[in-house]
């Protein structure tokens, strides 16, 4: 695979350039300082069946501040494996995007980060997920405690059928947080840049808001408990472009204080907002049921979009499939 094959994706570079300032921690001794100039790295175990590319080359996760480290993470539903052998490191206080076609397991993996898969009967997780070094699936870990630190925003806005105020206050009340509830609510709404929109109608039902406002309310609701990580599972897929833009702006502001992992169908969104991108694919088995998700490539977003090392990543980011 030669570098000049990779030019089709370069049009995306413009939008991702704005993020490159926050990419310093990627540069580690022994690893390529400049994407594309890859020295011969001794081949580790080949991650995907692509012989030409070494493991450390496609899974470029040498970061010194990981918030999550997964090792050989696999999830199955019943007896059917959904996603296999995902090993990557997610950096702190940055935005990491998971992209890939439907069914590639990106949502399944993100749901391991706050043990949301526990709620699905028959879901089984193998391998390890470490959060600040602690095994999230260790026997001494209470999944409820995990979710207090790691907030989540879902595909469809899912406010509770309560007032705007009560939606925000839900988390702090459940966790028994101390302090003035009014203040907690205001701060969360301000962080989600929703305060000015709703400060005069805090007692109104959240269902009276627009879809974009509802989703920002859900972000505010998650922020109210002061999480360390925010997981976003296709947060904009039900929203119009303007609402999407506001949420993306919000993510840029939030990464000062929280680590964000976002799953998205939308490659441009990944290019716009994220610092690092992981690309997943679906391995088509013999039948529909045998679809298995795999991690193909992971690295700094601008490198993934302008200089992908795996031919499948290149085809995906250049729009040939998916």
């Amino acid at each position: 695979m030669s570098d000049d094959e990779l030019t089709p994706a370069s049009t995306l570079r413009e939008v991702s350039d704005s993020d490159s300032s926050s990419s310093e921690p990627r540069d580690e001794p022994g690893l390529p300082a400049v994407p594309g100039e890859v020295p011969a790295v001794p081949a580790g175990q080949p991650h995907a069946p692509v012989p030409v590319v070494a493991h450390a080359d496609v899974i470029d996760d040498a970061i010194d501040n990981p918030v999550f480290i997964t090792e050989k993470l696999s999830v199955s539903y019943g007896t059917a494996p959904a996603v296999l052998d995902v090993s990557l490191r997610v950096p702190e206080k940055q935005i990491t995007a998971f992209i890939g076609p439907s069914g590639c397991g990106k949502s399944t993996i993100i749901r391991c980060f706050n043990r949301m898969n526990d709620l699905i009967p028959g879901a089984h997780v193998e391998g390890t997920v470490r959060y600040h070094g602690v095994d999230l699936y260790g026997s001494d870990i209470d999944s409820v405690q995990v979710r207090k630190r790691i907030g989540m925003v879902f595909q469809k806005p899912n406010p509770f059928p309560k007032s705007i105020y009560d939606n925000i206050a839900f988390g702090p009340k459940v966790l028994g947080m101390k302090g003035s509830m009014d203040q907690i609510v205001e701060e969360a709404l301000r962080r989600a840049s929703l305060w000015d929109d709703v400060k005069d109608r805090l007692k109104d039902n959240a269902f009276g808001m627009s879809g974009g406002q509802q989703q920002r309310l859900c972000i505010a609701r998650a922020l109210a408990t002061n999480p360390d990580v925010l997981l976003m599972d296709e947060p904009c897929s039900a929203l119009d472009p303007i609402s999407t833009g506001r949420i993306e702006d919000l993510m840029h502001e939030l990464k000062e204080t929280v680590s964000i992992v976002i799953v998205t169908h939308n490659m441009q969104q990944a290019a716009r907002v994220s610092d690092r991108t992981a690309f997943f694919i679906v391995d088509m088995g013999s039948s529909e049921e045998a679809r298995i998700g795999r991690l193909v490539e992971y690295g700094p977003t601008d490198r993934i979009f302008t200089n992908p090392h795996d031919i499948r990543t290149e085809e995906y980011v250049s729009g040939k499939f998916g």
């Binding site: 469809k156 059928p161 609701r221 408990t225």
Partner: protein, 318 residues
């Protein structure tokens, strides 16, 4: 020929030339009519019941031995005595006390069962418990009546709990009526709770809520209208339940508020008097209809209150 047509001589498009020959829709209309008849039956029967009740009730109040004020306020109900008294209060009181006891039993048991099945039970446990519950709903109420009289009162109330209760008593009747309506309350409430979108639960779990917090703070409030519907349905069944109270609660119309004593409900009076030897057309006979009418009004008011309640407090989540 008077109106010239542009298309004269040329066949323009017709419905038939575009869509093919029209199909006759007799079958469709017959089905629609049959379904309408099915729906109309319940309306017609309801109207018929009201009409027949109203006629006899008016005849009852036209009787010399009856006054409307005595009916509403008098504390004695002795319609078959030689000197009859027609004060409905003892019957209403008996009905309310027994239904109240039944609801005290059925609301926690029913909603608890529903919450367990919807939020806690594994699919396997749910598969085992739900049919059992439905089995309970299928037991004839006369069986519950004798269960209350021959087992619950002597063995549980008098024996196990050592309570000083009569052989016939309102407490046993009320508790067993409560057990009887648990499946009704539980099944309707469980449907409502299962219908709460999974996305709301995920939202709450994602904020670090425990299962109990998700159930109590998210699922139950969101399902409140359905849960209330279940409770009201159960309450209507409790108020209307006849066999259990007829067998186990005794037939003593009393103004005593102590459920350890025998008491008579409105339905028990109707059942006992209707099968007895009261002559058709007598005041006692007409009293059956008057009590029936009062019962009808009570359940109607109950339903109206609950509809208002549901409208006011329900949380719309879609």
């Amino acid at each position: 020929m008077a109106t010239p047509s542009i298309a004269s001589g040329v066949a323009g498009p017709t419905a038939e030339s575009v869509f093919g020959p029209a199909r006759r829709r007799i079958g469709e209309k017959a089905i629609a009519f049959a379904l309408f008849c099915a729906a109309a039956t319940s309306v017609v029967i309801t109207v018929g019941i009201v009409v027949s009740l109203t006629g006899e009730t008016l005849a009852f109040f036209a009787d010399d031995a009856v006054t409307a004020s005595g009916f509403l306020t008098d504390g004695q109900w002795t319609p078959l005595f030689s000197d009859p008294q027609f004060g409905i209060r003892p019957l209403v009181q008996g009905t309310l006390i027994i239904s109240g006891i039944a609801l005290i039993v059925a609301i926690p048991l029913g909603i608890g069962t529903a919450a367990f099945l919807s939020e806690y039970a594994s699919p396997r446990v749910r598969k085992a418990v739900k049919p059992t519950l439905e089995l309970l709903a299928g037991v004839p109420t006369v069986v519950f009546g004798y269960f209350a009289l021959t087992f619950f009162t002597p063995s549980v109330l008098q024996g196990f709990l050592g309570m000083d209760v009569s052989v016939f008593n309102g407490l046993a009747g009320g508790i067993i009526v409560g057990v009887l309506i648990v499946p009704t309350v539980a099944s309707v409430a469980e449907d409502a709770m299962s219908a709460v979108p999974q996305s709301l639960r995920e939202g709450a779990y994602g904020l670090g809520a425990s299962r109990r917090q998700v159930t109590v703070r998210v699922v139950v409030p969101a399902a409140l209208s359905g849960i209330t519907a279940g409770v009201v349905l159960g309450a209507s069944r409790a108020v209307g339940e006849t066999m259990v109270v007829l067998i186990a609660a005794g037939q003593v119309p009393t103004t005593s508020l102590d459920p350890r004593n025998p008491m008579e409900t409105m339905t028990a009076f109707i059942g006992a008097t209707g099968k007895g030897d009261v002559p058709t057309g007598s005041t006692g006979y007409k009293a059956i209809f008057a009590v029936g009418f009062a019962l009808f009004l009570m359940t109607l008011i109950l339903n109206m209150i609950s509809i208002r309640f549901v409208r006011r407090y329900r949380q719309v989540y879609e």
